[in-house]
Each structure stands twice: as C-alpha cells, then as structure tokens.
Amino acid sequence: MSEVELSRERAEDVLFRAGYWLLFALIMLPIVVVFVTSFQRGQYLTFPPHGFSLQWYRQFFASAEWLSAVRDSVVIGVGASVLSTVLGVMGSLAVQRSDSTLARVLPPIILLPLLLPPVVIGLTLLIYFNRIGFTNTYLNIIVAHTLWATPLVFFVMQSVFARFDWDLRDAGMDLGARPSRVFYHVVLPNVRGGVLISAVVAFIVSLQEFIMAMFLKSYGVQTVPVLAWTSLQSSLTPLVSVVSTFLVAVSIIGVLVSAALMNMEWLAERL
C-alpha cells in the first residue's frame, strides 16, 4: 500500500470515529440535560443550570398528585407486564410448533399495533370502551399497553424458543409426564431468562408510554408520563426532570438486568 493510500485510510478512520462518537454524544445529550436539570435551582428549567439544589426532589416527594401517579403507573405497568407476558409466551409457544391457519395469521396481526400511530390506537380504544361501557381506567390502560407489549414479548420468545431443543420436551412426554409438568420442569428452566427479559421490557414499555394513557386517563387515574406532559403544557418546570430522571433510571436498570441475563448484542438483535 502506498503512502498516500495509508494516510487516506487514516483520515477515513478518524472521520468515521468522530462521526459515530458525535452521534453518540447527541443521543445521550437529552438524558444528560434531564439528569442535570433535576438538581437545578430556580423556577424555570435552564441548561446549563445556574446553581444546584435538591428542592425539586423535595417537592416531588411532598406532592400527593405525583405520588398517586407513581402508584397508578406501577399498577398499570405490572398489570400490562403480567398480561402481555402470559399471552405472548403462550402464543409464541403455540405458534412455534403449529402450522395451523391461526398460527400463520396471528403474528402479523399482533405486530400491527406497533406500526400504528399511538394516537390512532388511543382514539380507537377510547371509542370502543365508551361504546361497551368498560370504564375501569386501570384495565383500559393495561389493555392498551398490552397491545404494544405483547408483540415484543412474542417475538423475543420466538427467538428464545427457536434455540430450545424440542427433543428434550418430547423425551419428557415420552416418559409420560403431563404437558404442564414438562413445561414447568423441562422447558421453563431453559427459557427463564427470555421470559424475564420479556416481562421487564413489557413493564418498561408500559411505564414510559403516554399517548394512549393520555386518551384513556380519568380524573382519578393518570400515569406519571401523562402528568409530566400535562405539567409541561403550563410551564417548563424542573420538577419534570426529577420525574424523568426516575423514569430513565428504571430503564437503565432494566437494560442492565437484561444485558446481564443475556447480553447487549442479544438484546439489540431482538427488540
């Protein structure tokens, strides 16, 4: 290789690296803004801040409205996580070993809600729940979030089950064990990590979603992101940064737990 080519390659390398680290910095920037401004002093959110204090954290923990939103978010998140994990794992297990019409038609239908604007799903469910008189806000939002979380669980489990050695299950069956026992003792221990990751991702997706939750909220029940959104309509308050810091922290913990169970690459290829 000539001298000129070598130096051109080196220049390309530098450009390439500078390019993706710049993007990396831009991606992380809003998260840094959120974190830093949650510790700021003063009424109006400013970045970089002019002073630091814990006043907004104190205000958060003293606010009955915010704490009740946290409770609502947790109830809905756990509900959506449990429901979508059960539906998704069972459905995925069925589709895995079946070639019935239903098993072929179902996956694209499950996927569809992820591709529709959340505003449209929100409006569709709002009209539907009003029509059939199903007005338990918790259940309404759990259903909406389950529509989104189920495809994630379903497709993560598809790839987990694809790696599972089905001969093991058949061996269990041949030895005369009931299907439920085979599932519990043979299948589950092998796919436990995948199920756990699915449940964590489903919880986080529900916790962070706000558009459907906004359509379906009621006076008594609203989630944390919805309340954050409503407060932002009146003013850009650092209190929202406190809440956002908590929301981001939950996601970071979720990602780290999942990465520890599998690894970051595995997660990136399946989400």
């Binding site: 991606i27 009209i127 539907y128 850009l236 929301l247 989400l271």
Partner: protein
Amino acid sequence: MAGSESMFAWLGERIKGRDSRNVFLIAPLAAFELAFFVIPFLILVRMSLNASAQAGPYQPGFTLGAYRAVFASDLYRQLVAFSFELGVAATVISVFLALFYAYAAYRADGLRKSLLLFSIILPLLTTLVVKTYAWRPLLAPRGVLNDVLLGLGVIGSPIQFAPGIVGTVIGQVYIVFPYAVLSIYSVLSTMDWDTVEAARDLGASRPRSFLEVVVPEALPGIAVATVVSFAWSVGAYAAPSQLGSGAQTTFAMEIESLMLTQFDYPTGAALSLLMLAAMLVVSLGVLRLLTGSIGGVEGV
C-alpha cells in the same frame, strides 16, 4: 345433520390430537387481539359513518358527512400535507444516520460495541415526554445551540430552532432513530465480514465496498427502518406539540383535539382512517421499491 356431525368429529380429533395443546395456548392471545384490536377497529369504521353532533360526541346515523368534511376542509388538507412532509424528512434523515450508526455498532467490539448498543436501547425504552422536552433548553432562542453558534461566529443573531420546524424535525428524528438503527443492525449482524474483506482485497476502496457490499446486504433492514420511521413520523404527536409552533400541527395533534377537546368522534375517526389508508399505500410503495416485493415486515 351429517355436516355438523362430521364437524364435531373433526373438532374432537383436533382437541384430542397433537394440536390440542396449541389451540388452548393460542386461544387467549387470539381472543385478546379480537376483542381489543380487531373489533375496536370495526367500531372505529362504524363511528366514522355517524354524524357529528352539537351536543355529545356523535349523532347515530349512516352518512359520509365526516369524510366529506375532512376532504372539504383546507385546514385538514394542510395538516395531512404537513404530516407527510414531516414523515418524509424525518425518515430520510434518520435512516441515513441509522445506517451509519448501525454499521459503526456492527464493526465495533468489546466495550465500545456495548456502549453503542446501550445508547440505542436506552432511548428506545425512554418516554417520549423526556425525549422531546429535553431538547427545549438546547434549541430555544437563548439556548445552548444558539450560544455555541453565536460564540463561534457562525450566526450573527439567535435563531429560533424551537418552537419551530427545525426543532420538530430534530425531535422526531431523535424519536425514530433507535428503531431505525436496530432494524438495520439486526440485519447487519448476520452479515459475513469476509465478503467485505474480499471486495477490499480485490481493490475496492472502503467507501466503495460499503456502498456496493454492505448497503445491498443491509437492504431488508433499511426497508424495515424506512417503513417504521415513516409510520411513526407521519403519526407524530409528541415532537411537534413540544418542539413545534402553531405552524407544525400534525394530523395526530388534530385527532387529539377532536377527541379530547372538541368531542367530535366521527370526524376524528374519519381523519384517522383516511390517514391510515394513505400511510398503508405509501409504506407498501416504499417496501416494493426497496425490496422488490411486498412482505418482510414481519421480522421487526
């Protein structure tokens, strides 16, 4: 009747047979999707055929009035046009950047790879509220970006990036970027690096080997990234309401206002269905253009 008897026999066989477990496993999911997705959409279609009412959300009836109102209104035409413009702009920018970033993540290893992938997964799992409002102090007329540009002497007086079109596009690109990166990355991660090495050994420069070997390999991922980014950007709500001015009103914002403030259900339903139809046509067109066939969306 013989017909129903044989049907029961068939059902019995099914339930006793190998597939029986599968039927019971899949039934709850199928019932859920039917009850909370398929039927609600049929009700939405029915709702769009009711008449708007002065008092209450709708007047039961059977009319195309809501559709006529949407087509006749200049306001709605502008909203839809703007939503599509935003969709195209955000999609082009994010797919282009995502191809680069996904390739960087594919090539990296060790800690660097984990960091790059972490930076994609974290925003993916962060609420839209955080992803949009955090740009406001950065893009405001007296914000960080203006300070930097003024300090460098690039501009003479502050520019209002947000609220405005620049802020809206940046916010929307930021929202869809992680999805676009992952769609491309999941395809790239199955690519054999030796193919690229071979092209280079045969004398292809690195940019050329990227364009002629990597990009064609990544095409299915690029197609999925395009469709996902486009679908989400046409339906943009959070970015334009948080980072746009009045001129950046999208159809999703109008639907929110129709449903939650004006209580006009039929018009909201008609507007959504027309928008979905338009999105479907454009998405299928893009897929056909990029992959030469329809299908392949299923692997997202």
